[in-house]
């Protein structure tokens, strides 16, 4: 029996999986480091975000759902900052 919430989960998780694939393809196929960095951030932010979003309806408790959101937020903050730092290191000539 598939409910509306299940459909939502499936859609969100599929989207997340797609973004991970997009990130990987970008990491492998893009021409230089900065564009690869760009591809990576999509996988980081949207891939995990969509998966977490899709799992929220399936969480047993409000606390579990909150943890999913915190995990996403953590990855967002650290991903954005480290990408900035990696980009800076790249600009300054460290290949």
């Amino acid at each position: 029996m598939i409910t509306l919430l299940d459909l939502f989960s499936i859609a969100a998780i599929s989207a997340g999986t797609f973004f991970f694939f997009a990130g990987t393809v970008g990491l492998l196929r893009f021409p230089d480091s900065l564009t690869r960095l760009h591809a990576l951030t999509k996988a980081d932010n949207l891939g995990l975000g969509m998966v977490a979003l899709g799992l929220i309806p399936r969480a047993d408790s409000a606390l579990s759902a909150l943890k999913l959101i915190v995990i996403w937020a953590l990855v967002l903050v650290s991903g954005a900052s480290t990408s900035q730092l990696i980009g800076r290191a790249l600009r300054r000539g460290r290949k």
């Binding site: 999986t17 990130g23 953590l74 990855v75 650290s78 480290t82």
Partner: protein
């Protein structure tokens, strides 16, 4: 439904595994990116597997992993540009 979650986890692990090829043949910065992708994808796969197989308390493990991935990335970036000299001009 559980099998679907597992399949998604398998696909993400596969994607990340292919991305790890960057570790093998890339610059230091790109290796960092690949590890970052591994961390994020790993957390996603971990959550999916945990929800599919009912391993208890895995959210806390994922929370810890997210924190550690951030810590390791900070440390590597710190050393990646520490030899670049001065602070932000």
């Amino acid at each position: 439904m559980d099998e679907l979650l597992l399949a998604a986890a398998g696909l993400i692990v596969l994607a990340v595994a292919v991305g790890l090829a960057r570790i093998l043949r890339g610059s230091d910065a790109e290796r960092l990116m690949a590890v970052q992708l591994l961390g994020t994808g790993g957390i996603a796969a971990l959550l999916l597997i945990a929800y599919a197989t009912d391993v208890p308390g895995v959210e806390d493990v994922a929370l810890g992993l997210a924190l550690l991935a951030a810590f390791a990335a900070t440390a590597f970036v710190n050393l990646l540009d520490a030899d670049q000299g001065d602070a932000e001009a």
